[in-house]
């Protein structure tokens, strides 16, 4: 019983860390551009397929090292172009927020069924980044889990450092806090919008590469991920990076324990309940600003 709980705890921790990576990207892009991206989960799957394509059919030299190395420019370009071509033109409309939601929802459908028609409807499995186990007393840890945890946490730390210590990072925060002020001091707002979108795409793409090793690449799994990322963001407080971080781990744990105790089918219901209760009590989320 105790060991089982430890296992569930660890699985919650691993999932939570990857969720945190993805949710931080989402909260950033919402905080800065105010664009509500309903296709976020489809980019998670794009990460999964990207890794699968490179590792299995193309058997790329260097394995996961090459995947990570190529993923950064790939997702940056995809995200950047997407913002420039699909989101930016909508900003001139009064009801652009609604239009962005509708467009990205259509985009997610297009992407999800695009994956199905290109890669087939069956799930794909990715090889483990590393095999083997580590034993700490009676608890057995997969080295894969440890690597995923370390990678996502260091990815987040790295991101946080860039945001707080570089000129561009400060510019991103400036746009989030006051777009008009940012324009006045000469920050190229449109570029920051697109770049932020691109960075969030990298983060969710990496989330896909990391988590699909454990959960398979499922062409229809993207809405689930999208909802999770958004719930974490709303629960933590939209635009609050620290809030997302806490919320991601709370949700990861909730999911692991509810799934273990009541069955996986109840996970989503528990998630929604958590969201509704939080928003009813504290509409700005855990750490959001009013």
């Amino acid at each position: 019983m105790f060991l089982e709980i430890v296992d569930v705890f660890i699985s919650g921790l691993i999932n939570g860390s990857v969720y945190a990576l993805m949710a931080v990207g989402l909260t950033l892009v919402y905080g800065v551009t105010k664009a509500f991206n309903f296709a976020y989960g489809s980019f998670y799957n794009l990460g999964g397929y990207f890794a699968w394509l490179l590792l299995i059919p193309l058997t790329v030299v260097g394995g996961y090292y090459s995947v990570f190395f190529l993923a950064v420019p790939f997702f940056f370009i995809v995200g950047y172009l997407l913002e420039k071509v699909l989101i930016a033109p909508l900003r001139k409309y009064d009801d652009w927020e609604m239009k962005v939601m509708m467009l990205t929802l259509g985009l997610s459908l297009f992407m999800d069924f695009g994956y199905q028609s290109v890669f087939g409807p069956r799930i794909k499995s990715l090889p483990s980044i590393i095999d083997g186990t580590v034993e700490i007393g009676k608890v057995v840890l997969f080295q894969q889990d440890i690597v995923i945890f370390i990678l996502s946490v260091s990815g987040m730390l790295c991101f946080g450092w860039v945001l707080n210590n570089t000129r561009t990072g400060m510019a991103v925060q400036a746009v989030a806090q006051n777009p008009a002020g940012a324009q006045i001091v000469g920050i190229p707002k449109d570029f920051i919008f697109a770049a932020t979108f691109a960075i969030s795409t990298i983060m969710v793409g990496f989330g896909g590469i990391l988590l699909c090793q454990k959960n398979f690449v499922d062409p229809m799994g993207s809405t689930d991920i999208m909802i999770k990322a958004w719930v974490i963001t709303a629960f933590g407080g939209m635009g609050s990076i620290r809030g997302s971080l806490y919320a991601a781990f709370i949700l990861g744990m909730l999911e692991a324990f509810v799934g273990w105790y009541f069955g996986m089918i109840h996970v989503q219901i528990a998630t929604l309940t958590l969201l509704l209760v939080t928003l009813a009590i504290r509409p700005q989320g855990l750490m959001g600003r009013e």
């Binding site: 919402y30 509500f36 309903f38 699909l86 033109p89 909508l90 409309y93 009801d95 927020e97 609604m98 239009k99 939601m101 509708m102 467009l103 929802l105 259509g106 985009l107 997610s108 459908l109 297009f110 992407m111 999800d112 069924f113 695009g114 199905q116 028609s117 409807p121 809405t223 689930d224 909802i227 958004w230 719930v231 709303a234 939209m238 069955g263 089918i265 109840h266 996970v267 989503q268 219901i269 998630t271 929604l272 969201l275 509704l276 928003l279 009813a280 509409p283």
Partner: protein, 328 residues
Amino acid sequence: MSLKRMVVILVGFYCLMGVMPLFFGGTDYIMNILIMILIWAVVASCWDVIMGFAGIFSFGQVAFYVVGAYASAILSVSLHVPPVYAILLAAVITGLFGVLVGLPCLKLAGPYVALVTFAVHMTLVPFLRGPMGRAIGSGGAQGILTVPPVSLFGMTFSSEHLVPFFYLTLFLTIICTIILVLVIKSYWGTAFLALKDSENFAASLGISAFKYKLMVFGLTSFITGLFGALYAHYVGMLSTRMLSMDVFTILMIMIVIGGIGKYPGVVVGAVITVTLNQFLAPMGMYRPLIMGAIVVVLVLFLRDGLVNPIIRLISSRQKAGRTGEYLS
């Protein structure tokens, strides 16, 4: 749009629909399309009232439709309630469900509302398929296969008798359309348009804005549930496939073609979309792919929908035509 033009378009549309069975009464394929047009036209109109007029970013419209359908089916199958009462009860249940969802989220900022309502949609699938759903009679993954048809005054309305069912639907459609037009053109509608323009004004109205939003949300949920229930008794079987994203997307295409807040554009949007969807049916897996692409392209290029610019074009032509006559 002026009330007069709105009424002219709607009366014209429903008169046209009303005479359709005279020509196509024998063709089940076309009658089915016509019935689906009527049902979707109302469901999409409700969504337009919520999004375009009340300014609520609700993504729960399909969810309410499905709640209505399942509620009526469960009432009539498990509790043996006669379908007519089951439909009405289902509509009331959906209306209450709408209020229940609206209570925590209508005070929130737009994107949160979209998120919560969409999460409700996504959560309905595991709920209806899982043990909780089975406990209330949703039939789990299999769904409900034997929803009884509606009988009224000794007549049976079902997919076996398409023409009577068509007129029953038309009757309900017209009643609901009148209600929606009244909502749009009433004090509420005007107030909502003002609300959408000014957040501060909304804030100054405070609680009453919330109350009105909640009332509209409840009312549109009621109507949506009514048509969901009607649909359940029409097709006779239900499954959680109704909640798949392509159904949602179809509804979205209707409103994008019609133009958000450009009622009754969305009615025309429903006609185009339902027909288009039928044409795309043989495409199989590519259908949702195409649907998704259509949404992206339409949202990007249609500012006010497809219908409104055409109406504007026609009315400017008419004026031009009149001067033309004078000149010749």
